[in-house]
């Protein structure tokens, strides 16, 4: 039977090694199948996350031969040529602290998400069925395809290289805010947050995030750049500022100013850090 060799990171926050495993190849096999084969037949202690095995839940993110990928969407077939030269390397996402093997601590993403208030409908639409045209929600729907795999966060150099999780929400949350900011009925002005704690200015449009997005969301072109423009308009366009003051420009005036949410309402409870050996 044809086999393929995988080199899988085994270890925890303290360090680890790459362990090789030989796995039989079946038609249509993906990397996640190979990891499951290892768990079932070679070593039951290998840790990984997964849920849907259909590229819909965003749980199985890892780095395969150096590229941030969903393991359930990475076909062994496509890596066969590379595998002839060297074993396929499977390792955890690099931008997040390692818990064990392929599992990383992604709780930061949930903590930042809890700072972003959900939709606040305009007063005249609250409590009634929304009337919105399809063309006006196409873009928003593109952003809402996000499966929260956090691969874009993993690849973004602001987070990965410079570890500025303190100053930048990251591309995933930019997509989230864009979906709200461009929602025809949302009434919050989200630009101040974007500029301040969101740190949109940290992004220098390298587009690495867009390249890895398994949902093919045009993160940079459709979300981040338009958001940057809106922020710039609000803060740096003197004419716009004047017109808004005079009441000629209404768009921002009808949006409610952003009130910082009590981000302590929701708490992501972290396990007590004692490993039970």
């Amino acid at each position: 039977m044809e086999t393929i060799t995988l080199s899988v990171f085994r270890g925890d926050a303290a360090g680890g090694v790459f362990q090789t495993y030989e796995v039989p190849v079946t038609p249509g096999m993906v990397i996640l199948d190979a990891i499951h084969y290892i768990q079932k037949n070679l070593d039951t202690t290998v840790a990984c996350r997964w849920n849907c095995k259909a590229a819909k839940c965003g749980s199985c993110s890892a780095e395969v031969n150096g590229k941030p990928r969903l393991m359930c969407k990475t076909r062994v077939e496509d890596l066969k040529e590379d595998a002839k030269k060297a074993p396929i390397r499977v390792m955890p996402m690099r931008a997040f602290p390692i818990i064990k093997d392929l599992v990383t601590d992604v709780s930061w993403n949930y903590r930042t998400a809890s700072k972003i208030p959900p939709l606040v409908p305009k007063a005249d639409a609250a409590g009634k069925p929304f009337v919105m045209q399809q063309v006006d929600v196409d873009r928003v729907q593109e952003f809402r395809k996000c499966i929260e795999c956090f691969l874009c966060q993993d690849v973004c150099h602001v987070i990965r290289e410079h570890d500025r999780k303190d100053a930048f929400f990251g591309p995933r949350q930019m997509v989230r805010i864009a979906a709200l900011e461009m929602h025809p009925i949302d009434d919050l002005n989200r630009r101040e947050q974007l500029d301040a704690e969101g740190g949109i200015g940290m992004c220098n449009i390298t587009k690495c995030c867009t390249e890895v997005c398994p949902e093919h969301i045009h993160i940079t072109d459709n979300a981040i750049i338009p958001l940057k423009e809106r922020v710039a308009d609000t803060y740096f366009d003197p004419l716009r500022g004047l017109l808004t003051k005079l009441g000629v420009m209404k768009r921002d005036a009808i949006k409610q100013p952003f009130e910082s949410v009590e981000s302590n309402l929701t708490k992501i409870v972290q396990p007590t850090p004692t490993a039970m050996k």
Binding site: D12, T26, P27, G28, V30, Q39, K40, T44, T45, V46, A47, C48, R49, W50, N51, C52, K53, A54, A55, K56, C57, S59, K73, R75, E77, I99, K100, D101, Y110, A113, P117, P118, L119, G127, P129, V131, M132, Q134, Q141, R144, K145, C146, I147, E148, A179, L180, H183, V261, L265, T266, K267, I268, V269, P271, T272, P273, T274, A275, M276, K277
Partner: protein
């Protein structure tokens, strides 16, 4: 316990499970003024709800299409369709509440931020679906479940909760006959954790992992169900397990992945190896649907363009009927090379398919190198949904145990013997809310119970023994053998002989599972987790098989080759109830509650 360090948390309401039902319960309990903790086995937002594709069924009557809209739809039609689909085993009151409240719950999602596809008038767009008389599935392309869970996740975070991710609960804590919390462990560290709560909502979803072909993730092991059962809750309709007619069977890497019913809704054909659209075989359309479906492929084709003047093709019969027809075709030797049938939508053209079924197109293209705009898929019925579960009272979703509530797939009563597509998503929002409110009411009227920690000793032993023992079986081996026997003997076509064989095997495996052994330590160790999961699955399997044995008729998902007919006189009026009787499984038939006259009238009017 004294030796074992653990964390303790205290909430008014503890919600177990963070899929759609759990999150909707969180929102409701918070709005009622309670402190809420929510526990999930995975990360937040990864639950099975994301897998739902087709839509959320609610009679909004938004479609004004000349080619067949949804004008004329009402809760009454949705009520009648749901009962008919469930072969009248449903709880009438549950279905009534459901059909009446679903539209309001869907509109509320929009207020929370869900962005549904729109009609030309700018309202929520609805699509036709199997078993629904009108276009009733409010949808977002083919990722409606993702939209629902993300919407409620954001809303729940907004209203405030404590989230405990990657925690597995294994036992409910009791104070006498009342549930006062739950016990389990952190997956990450293996440390134990106790949640004390005035009321507990189980929203833990379904269980399908005891079968080989299943669309369930590793989570679907029935632990929520079995925790409820072990605490004394009655279970209902456990023999009723839905097979999604079109799960992928080839290539093996895609096995079990579902092909949404939307593919058939958008005109997909089912074909056997001879190229025939076998669903048009008259015997595949049961009596109660006669005259409502197209009788020739020509008429079926016309329906695609003019939905008003033509009847829909029989590919859109309810799931149990389609699954059985596929099974019969394969049995008759007209299956594909890999043992399935073909599902083909390529005749709709690449543009149409990419627009209407974008994630299907992409998924097949990227995962299986299959271009569905050009070639057919190979499909086979796959375990998909459990209609049965914890018996709940319709108004507040309370179970037969004090302080314990249940909603969503883990609860039973709404779907009867078979669930209609689209009804699961409306189920979770209607009853998620009611369960949250029910639990909140209970919590506001009760104080915390008293915990006697001695009740945890057994559970801790059970959890730790596979790590400490020097010999014993590998839990994966036991699991695989369980899957083989359930797949062979308790799947779509059942007989007394097969079920008895399955029962004997399950009991043998239960014996063997007393001694399990796993390698490694307690830190994120899937082998260790599997050891506890497999015990839950073994008990749940025993209950499924015993109920399937007792129901001596064919109805909905229960298809007995040795009792091929419906028995309306007796079994049509009885549910099977399973409960724990001092460690033994007790199964008893119980008469369905009598439907009031005015609802019988509604049914008669709806035809």
């Amino acid at each position: 316990m004294a030796m074992e360090p653990y964390d303790t948390f205290e909430y008014d309401v503890l919600v177990v499970g963070a899929g759609g039902a759990g999150l909707r319960a969180v929102i409701a309990a918070r709005e009622a003024g309670c402190s809420v903790g929510v526990v999930c086995k995975s990360l937040l937002g990864k639950a099975h709800t994301v897998m739902a594709e087709g839509g959320v069924a609610a009679a909004l009557s938004n479609m004004r299409n000349p080619d067949g809209g949804s004008e004329g739809d009402s809760w009454k039609t949705h009520f009648a369709d749901t009962l008919k689909g469930g072969a009248y085993l449903n709880n009438w009151r549950t279905v009534e509440i459901f059909a009446k409240e679903a539209p309001e719950r869907v509109l509320e999602l929009e207020q929370y931020g869900a962005v549904f596809d729109r009609t030309p008038e700018g309202l929520i767009a609805q699509r036709p679906f199997g078993g629904h008389k009108y276009r009733r599935l409010n949808h977002v392309g083919d990722r409606t479940g993702l939209e629902l869970i993300r919407t409620m996740q954001d809303k729940a975070v907004g209203v405030g909760m404590n989230i405990h991710m990657e925690v597995t609960l294994t036992r409910l804590l009791m104070d006498g006959d009342r549930v006062i919390g739950a016990f389990g462990y952190y997956r990450e560290t293996g440390r134990f954790v106790i949640f004390k709560a005035k009321a507990v909502v189980l929203a833990t979803g379904g269980w399908g992992r005891m079968y080989m072909y299943t669309s369930n993730s590793w989570e679907g092991t029935g632990d929520g169900l079995m925790m409820g059962y072990e605490a004394g809750a009655e279970l209902l309709d456990m023999e009723m397990i839905q097979f999604h007619p079109t799960g992928m069977i080839w290539p093996p890497g895609m096995r079990g992945i579902l092909v949404t019913e939307g593919v058939r809704g958008e005109g997909g054909f089912l074909k056997n190896s001879k190229g025939e659209r076998f669903m048009f075989t008259p015997e595949y359309t049961p009596e109660r649907y006669k005259g409502q479906f197209a009788e020739t492929p020509e008429e079926g084709m016309k329906w695609l363009d003019d939905k008003k003047a033509n009847r829909r093709p029989p590919e859109l019969l309810p799931r149990d009927e389609v699954a059985r027809a596929i099974y019969k075709e394969i049995l008759a030797g007209r299956g594909t090379e890999h043992g399935g049938v073909y599902l083909d939508v390529s005749h709709r053209g690449a543009d149409y398919i990419k627009r209407k079924l974008p994630s299907m197109y992409e998924q097949f293209h990227e995962l299986g190198d299959i271009d569905i705009t050009k070639q057919p898929m190979e499909v086979f019925p796959t375990i998909h949904y459990t209609m049965g579960g914890i018996k709940t009272e319709p108004e507040t979703c309370s179970t037969t145990v004090k302080g314990l509530f249940a909603a969503g797939e883990v609860a039973a009563g709404l779907h009867g013997a078979n669930r209609l597509g689209g009804n699961s998503l409306s189920d979770i929002i209607v009853f998620g809310k009611r369960a949250g409110e029910g639990a909140a009411q209970f919590a506001l009227n009760h104080s915390h119970g008293t915990l006697d920690a001695a009740q945890l000793d057994d559970e801790i032993d059970l959890l730790l023994s596979p790590l400490e023992s020097t010999r014993g079986e590998n839990p994966y081996t036991v699991h695989t053998e369980l899957q083989e026997t359930m797949q062979k003997n308790a799947m779509i076509a059942r007989t007394e002989e097969g079920l008895k064989e399955a029962l004997a095997k399950v009991l043998e495996l239960q014996e063997r599972a007393v001694h399990l052994k796993v390698e490694g330590d307690r830190c994120y160790n899937p082998g260790w987790h599997a050891a506890r999961d497999v015990r839950f699955m073994l008990k749940a399997s025993e209950i499924i098989v015993r109920c399937a044995l007792d129901r001596k008729e064919s109805r909905g998902a229960q298809w007995r080759l040795d009792y091929p007919d419906k028995d309306d006189a007796y079994w049509g009026k009885h549910n099977l109830i399973a409960s724990d009787n001092g460690g033994e499984v007790k199964v008893e038939p119980r008469r369905l509650p009598e439907m009031p006259e005015e609802l019988k009238q509604v049914l008669a009017e709806q035809g």
